[in-house]
Symmetry: none
Subunit: 224 residues, 2 copies
């Protein structure tokens, strides 16, 4: 199932590239890298990523320039673009906003911060897309905190609901356990692995439909 979100990272420092790549891959993202602004544009055109992380200072074209160019291409009008910057000065940030960045990450990078930011960016984006997810006989209504199945309204507890909503937000995609933990519990709270299982079980029980598939050694996915 290659419904995984694709992320392009552009930075001229191989070390940073590798750290970010590793962490994002652990989380289940597909990662493409670039070593310069020009390279980033090249890779973006080829892979059409869902999110582009641009270092501001790079040889050749810098991040701001690359962003500008990308934003002027129809294909990247709505792509998430995030800057990676050591400078925390307002000037750069305003420049970034003008060119249409969606957020900032400041160096030095803390993997957990990076992950939670990336996750929340995607979440925010998806949330705004549509309030109700409908899949076959199941409808998940975020606003009403309700799941309808077969005409019946099913009430799930908060964690259960969030978990189901997460899985259903990308049907078919396998969510790694880490990914689930980060999205639902956040990076700060630490809970055991069995906890996820138990919640999954409760969901399966309440919806008597078998819509959550276990991928052993990997995670869970929502499927009709």
């Amino acid at each position: 199932m290659s419904t995984a979100k694709k992320i392009l990272i552009a930075d001229d420092e191989p070390d940073i590239l590798e750290i970010i790549q590793f962490n994002l891959q652990q989380e289940g993202y597909e990662v493409v890298t670039a070593k310069s602004g020009d390279d980033a544009i090249e890779q973006a055109k080829r892979h059409l990523p869902d999110l582009i992380i641009l270092d501001v200072m790079m040889p050749g074209k810098n991040g701001l320039e690359a962003c500008n160019i990308l934003r002027n291409m129809p294909a990247f009008k709505k792509t998430l673009i995030v800057f990676l910057t050591a400078m925390s000065d307002e000037g750069t940030q305003i420049q970034g906003l003008e060119t249409g960045a969606d957020d900032y990450l400041s160096k030095p990078i803390r993997p957990k911060v990076l992950l939670s930011k990336v996750n929340s960016l995607f979440r925010r984006f998806e949330k705004e897309d549509s309030g109700i997810i409908t899949l076959g006989e199941i409808a998940i209504d975020r606003e009403k905190y309700l799941v309808r199945h077969d005409g019946k309204d099913i009430t799930l507890a908060r964690k259960e609901f969030e978990l189901l909503a997460l899985l259903a937000s990308r049907p078919g995609k396998v969510f790694l356990r880490n990914e689930i933990l980060n999205q639902i519990w956040g990076t700060e709270v630490i809970v055991g692995d069995r906890t996820i299982d138990v919640h999954i079980r409760k969901i399966r029980q309440k919806l008597d439909l078998d819509c959550i598939t276990t991928v052993k050694g990997v995670g869970y996915k929502f499927e009709l």
Copy 2:
């Protein structure tokens, strides 16, 4: 969620114009811009926006003047108008209120603040829009602060009424506790969590109909 809301922004600084425009467009709003007070009036007449954001200091006519002129035109009697101002002095704000502004935004602008303010403005507007809500055997009359249920008139205290009206303004939608606090008490007043419960209880008591459902860990919703 059907048709995109139209927003007119008037500011003489292109940078600010662009930042706001970008962020609002990301949020799904349709955006029109103007570079002066006169331009704003011009664009307003042409596009009939749902919300007008006016910088107070602009060449030609300033924001206050523009607002005054607009408010005297029947088409803009009920349009939301917000001022953008670097000045936080009382004088300007009072002037603004006299000319009929609905709210203020102060520079420098933080995109997130802008967005949440704009969103909440529209929410408030929608809420106040409808005079009488009728749902099944319940009728809620905003003007008379009256609730009719089963032919009987029920008098609720102000807070009780506002709370019920808020919940009923979007039947089924779960209102988070924070949302309720913001809408009814505003962002400045701080009251304890039990306060909401107590009001909810009184409403449930007075209307002996069971129409408010608790969604534990989330909030409350109105349901028949």
